[in-house]
């Protein structure tokens, strides 16, 4: 035997490493366990919106619930079919007038710049009306903002973004008057931190009221002249913020009609960041439109004073305000605007068929895998709908029950 000093240790170390890897590779994935009931079950997988069509197309998931235009994109490219919109999901009536996205401002901005806050609310409401009245215009603007007007590549060819937007807009309702939904996710997270959960307390109605007064001409806007710079976050990959895109890209309309508007500093930019809030031809505030990756991330940035407000999903907003983010919800932006999508060969065409399919697959030992964005209103919809149908939701790859949301 050749005796080489580092060799013995090396052999032992290398050997145990290989053993560890083999064990690790062969071992099943769950590492910790919760309790699974005897009810039929589905598996909930967290993913980002953009990856969902790919996951469905490669048969790694059976369905996803996500916002537009991902739903229309998947449908038109043949990746999947939409079998339900939020209004179809139980409990009955729960999502009919539920705010999916909202305008949020940090409370010190509301206090220190009340008139700017009111003008932002007024403009948002005006833009919502404009988007509802002129869908063709809004579709064009949104196609340019979200897709850059470039053809969208799909597994089977390419799609015209305008076509996608037309399809998407048929599934969206923009309204400033929806109410903040009660969210099971938020409730459990907030109560786990020994705080009380009350969605109505998260809304500051005074700003929207002042905004309405300005909008219907009851009183003229009176900006303070301090020219604050206000950062507003949003996710640039969703159609749900179409009113924001219309507000900026169709600024002359708002200037002419209301006397105040949000003008991009460089109108040629496809997704303007630097904008100026104009009141009767005079600059009143610098507004920066800052794209973000996730609603939660944008809310955290607001808490860090790096942004001052956002167009953001209602659940991320509620979650963080419930946990202490010093912001308030000003008003809603839209209802609906999401869809439950399954593969083209799935044996169902509506929610009831989907539930039956889930029961069959659960009985066969291969529970359906459904993807949503973590801590989104879509996750809340999935969990509440299945709880209503007495189907247990577990987190993908584990046997932890998601609990009755």
């Amino acid at each position: 035997m050749q005796k080489l000093i580092p060799f013995r240790g090396l052999l032992i170390g290398g050997g145990s490493l290989i053993l560890l890897i083999l064990l690790s590779l062969c071992g099943s994935v769950p590492v910790f366990s919760g309790t699974a009931g005897s009810n039929p079950g589905v598996s909930l997988l967290y993913a980002s919106a953009g990856t969902m069509p790919q996951l469905l197309n490669t048969h790694q998931i059976d369905a996803f619930l996500i916002w537009e235009p991902v739903v229309s994109n998947a449908e038109l490219s043949g990746i999947g079919k939409r079998i339900a919109v939020p209004a179809d999901l139980p409990p009955p009536g729960k999502w009919d007038n539920a705010a999916i996205n909202v305008l949020v401002l940090r409370r010190n901005i509301i206090r220190d710049e009340p008139e700017i806050a009111s003008l932002l609310s007024a403009l948002t409401t005006a833009a919502i009306e404009r988007t509802e009245e002129e869908p063709a215009l809004a579709e064009n603007i949104t196609a340019a903002w979200v897709f850059g007007n470039k053809p969208i590549l799909t597994p089977v060819g390419s799609l015209n973004p305008l076509e996608v937007e037309r399809h998407s807009f048929a599934n969206m309702v923009f309204t400033a008057d929806a109410t903040l939904p009660e969210s099971g996710i938020v409730q459990s997270a907030v109560e786990a931190q020994k705080r009380t959960y009350d969605p109505t307390a998260m809304v500051d109605t005074s700003v929207a009221e002042q905004g309405r007064l300005i909008l219907n001409g009851s009183r003229p806007p009176r900006p303070g002249g301090s020219m604050p710079t206000i950062g507003i976050g949003y996710i640039p990959s969703t159609d749900n913020y179409a009113p924001l895109y219309v507000m900026v890209k169709d600024a002359p309309y708002f200037c002419n009609r209301y006397g105040f508007c949000l003008v991009p500093d460089n109108p040629a930019e496809s997704r303007p960041v630097a904008c100026t809030l104009m009141v009767n031809g005079t600059p009143a505030a610098h507004i920066r439109l800052v794209p973000g990756q996730s609603g939660g991330g944008i809310m955290t940035t607001i808490g860090q004073n790096a942004l001052d407000g956002a167009f953001v999903g209602s659940v991320p907003a509620e979650l963080q305000i419930g946990l202490g983010n010093p912001s308030s919800v000003i008003q809603s932006i839209n209802t609906g605007g999401s869809g439950l999508v399954v593969g083209p060969d799935a044996p169902c065409t509506d929610w009831h068929g989907f539930v039956r399919w889930a029961e069959v697959r659960s009985a066969a030992g291969r529970p359906l895998v459904i993807a949503t964005v973590q801590s989104s209103i879509q996750e809340d919809m999935v969990r509440e709908a299945f709880a209503y149908e007495n189907i247990t939701v577990t987190f993908y790859g584990t046997d932890i029950t998601a609990g009755a949301a």
Binding site: Q2, L4, I5, P6, F7, G9, L10, L17, I18, L20, I21, S24, L25, V29, V31, F32, L45, Y46, A47, S48, T51, Q54, L55, T58, Q60, I61, S188, A189, A192, S294, G295, G296, G297, M299, T300, G303, Q304, N305, P316, L319, Q320, L323, G324, N325, A371, Q374, S375, F395, Y396, G397, T398, I400
Partner: protein, 261 residues
Amino acid sequence: MVLISRPALRDCGKGLFLIVLLLAVWEAAALVIQNNYILPQIGDIFAVLFQPAAPVLGGPSMIENATVSLREVLTGFGCAALLAIPLGLVIGSSREVGTYLNPAIQILRPVPPIAWMPFAIAWFGIGFHSILFIIAMGAFFPILINTVDGVQGVRRSWVEVAGMFHATTFERFRTVILPGALPMIWTGLRVSFGVAWMCVVAAEMLPGTTAGLGFLIMYAYNLGQLQVIGAGMIVIGLIGLFADTLFRAGQERFFSWQGRD
């Protein structure tokens, strides 16, 4: 085996002093700012750390998260080592093979592992194996490069001694090339373990992840719970420190001869 000598312990104390000072400055600033979104209080961070078995933000506990990440890192790191060391030995021994492989390696090497994410999901599916792929991608190249350097740095005279005693090709490899290259391979492993730890945070952003320190940090970010992020960072740092200490102890133990003859 004694890992830390007395003078090392004294140096440790000096290092600890700065850490305590930084913590004190942090805490003072946190008390002034009073905003968990900007500077969470040390007490809140330690409250998370001191209950390692309690669920964090309604999810897995800190121990469970650390276990998941550690398993991913060790497996990805191990896979990378199993591939990179033999390949590095071959490239280092044969100029011909190197000529074929080097351009591809040099092009792939600077690509951040996380850029592979969309492909990883399509090729390896959701979950563990995609994460492994990302981590292994990051850990692979430091091991490979160091192994190649190690083989090429083996002294000519050592190889000639083997030739003088008529060693077979395999014996020359086993008794000279491999042990001679081992210190560099070890250095490669040490560097790549650090890289693997950095990759795990990015890799746990992949779909289907429900636990892990990287997942915890992203989740806490979405919830604005910066004290949890701070606790996660400390755990990652401590595990990294522990691993590096082990690697250095191994270096002292096995390769004390390196560069001294």
